[in-house]
Symmetry: C2
Subunit: 337 residues, 2 copies
């Protein structure tokens, strides 16, 4: 690459080729309107000088951006960071899926202070579409914005009459799987660890409860609204273990991260897993394979999920209507039950 003069703009290139900027623009777009000869000439010059058109200018003109937004509303838990294992796993998968399709990924982490946070993102003019990871406690905001902004897909739980397009796992079924498994293993007193104000977690709770009711154990189900974050969950769980007279025989943690904290807390109290207490997690993250003991968990297929999120989003960007997707969970039995 020899560059006596820096070729920075279409205008520079046009001067060099002794044509108009319009011609250069069309030539680089390989438009049929330009003769083959000038087209190759200009493309050659562009290559030689390593010319890259200014994307901002193009975006302004074409009213698109080539970037997809990914955001993580942390409504229910202000202390929760993007560094949470679930989020970063999903994020990595989305990055792979989007890059494969030629899109850039714009990441924003939000702590919804008011209902305008989502409008701000979709109206920012920076992105062609948005993927939201988790409904948090913001279903209403999501519904409201989804009504006017089409290219948006949400990872999370599906509920009848929701206005937004979602991809997720059948949390109810997953919760039932977990509870059935604990019951089958002989547990009667079961504790649910998780904050039911978050849609996905409440669905898991409902599934768990349904299984308990069916087994006639309804009265032996307790709820510990443990926080999602590992650090703050431990005290919550410890308080519970310290307080109750009767220890639970089984614990259904609403996420692997909570389950990890539970394992740590149980070990602090000298309770053996699975001998004294059995523990089931949810998510099937990589880390669940490396806990002590290895964690029985309800697996969500996040790789497929990320693929679906991107597929649906691109179809919505293209103007199509799309359905919601609910995937099947899978119980993975390991050493903790």
């Amino acid at each position: 690459m020899n560059k006596q003069i820096q070729i920075r703009t279409l205008k520079d290139l046009a001067r060099l080729a002794d044509v108009s900027t319009g011609t250069v623009s069309r030539a680089l777009a390989n438009s049929e309107l330009i003769s083959k000869k000038t087209r190759t000439l200009i493309q050659g010059l562009a290559l030689e000088h390593g010319f890259q058109p200014n994307i901002t200018a193009r975006n302004l003109r074409t009213q698109r951006t080539g970037a997809i937004g990914v955001t993580i509303p942390l409504g229910h838990e202000t202390g929760q960071h993007v560094s949470d294992p679930f989020f970063i796993t999903m994020l990595g998968l989305l990055a792979d899926a989007l890059t494969e399709r030629g899109y850039d990924l714009m990441l924003s982490r939000v702590i919804p202070a008011n209902s305008g946070w989502l409008d701000k993102i979709v109206d920012s003019g920076r992105i062609d579409g948005l993927i939201v990871i988790g409904q948090s406690d913001q279903s209403e905001t999501l519904d409201r914005v989804a009504a006017r902004y089409r290219p948006m897909v949400i990872w999370g739980g599906y509920e009848k009459n929701q206005q937004h397009c979602s991809v997720g796992t059948d949390n109810f079924k997953g919760g039932r799987l977990a509870a059935d498994h604990l019951i089958e293993r002989g547990c009667e007193r079961i504790a649910f660890f998780g904050d039911p104000s978050v849609r996905e977690l409440s669905q898991r709770y409902d599934g768990c409860r349904a299984a308990m009711v069916k087994a006639g154990l309804e009265k032996k189900l307790t709820v510990v609204p443990a926080h999602l974050v590992a650090d703050t969950a431990v005290p919550d769980i410890s308080a519970f273990l310290g307080a109750t007279g009767e220890k639970p025989q089984g614990i259904f943690a609403a996420s692997d991260v909570i389950a990890m904290s539970a394992l740590r807390a149980l070990s602090d109290y000298g309770l053996a897993v699975p001998a004294d207490v059995k523990v089931v997690g949810f998510d099937g993250l990589a880390l669940s394979e490396h806990t002590v003991p290895r964690l029985t968990t309800v697996r969500q297929d996040l790789t497929a999920g990320a693929g679906h999120l991107v597929d649906l989003l691109l179809r919505r960007i293209a103007g199509e209507e799309t359905d919601n997707i609910v995937m099947d969970p899978e119980l993975i039995v390991r050493m903790s039950t």
Copy 2:
């Protein structure tokens, strides 16, 4: 928010307030050039109509973007995905640090096919600066681009005479820490697991080797060029364990992810950790606390590292010159040694 007419542009707002677009622009920027009265009037209208200026247009005019690029060159390992735990941990931390400072994060994952990949990113006009996670085997490309593109900072190993600005851990010292610890624990035959064509890993190897030389154990050091990815590392390691007559007494894995694979492989061969073989990892990722047994590792302070990366980058964007940063590693002794 009542909006009979959608207020989408400065012009719309100007018409509404019966002033010129220039005035609106200055009013929203809270410029002293505009009278307090009109300023509050216009700001009020903007708020009322939920007006958001078009960022693309602003970027075109101001020649900045408000976004920082983060890229992960996967030169040494094509199979390696963004979903690798080290990368996603770093990514999450960077997202936090950048968001805090009001920048957006643009993620691109690259498999460097030719030396132009980096030019393409920095010349894309999409970002104000770039953070590169890991030198991979691309030091030359990084040096070349760093010479002409200032706002770029690289996470990785520091080496004399490098042209690019780096933030990282003292890998040599870390390697020495790990080896010294293994030697102190009575190991003589030590195996290094890691690909030395990657700068950071080769530095860790050098430190390890230095410790061995000092202890007179130079001849008992072997290298297994295990791949970075968990899935492909297991076969490499298994092959090594199956082949050698004398099993190593100590293993220094160049990363926690490799160490995890080593633990799995060792357990497959019926070797007990730490009784038969002692294992040290590197990185200090969250997952290292949840392996069986809990992993002794050399910790890098990634939170501080992410903070430094962002700080240096912003200073470089502002035109300052900056030094490299080399942080101290810390040995964390757990149950695997």
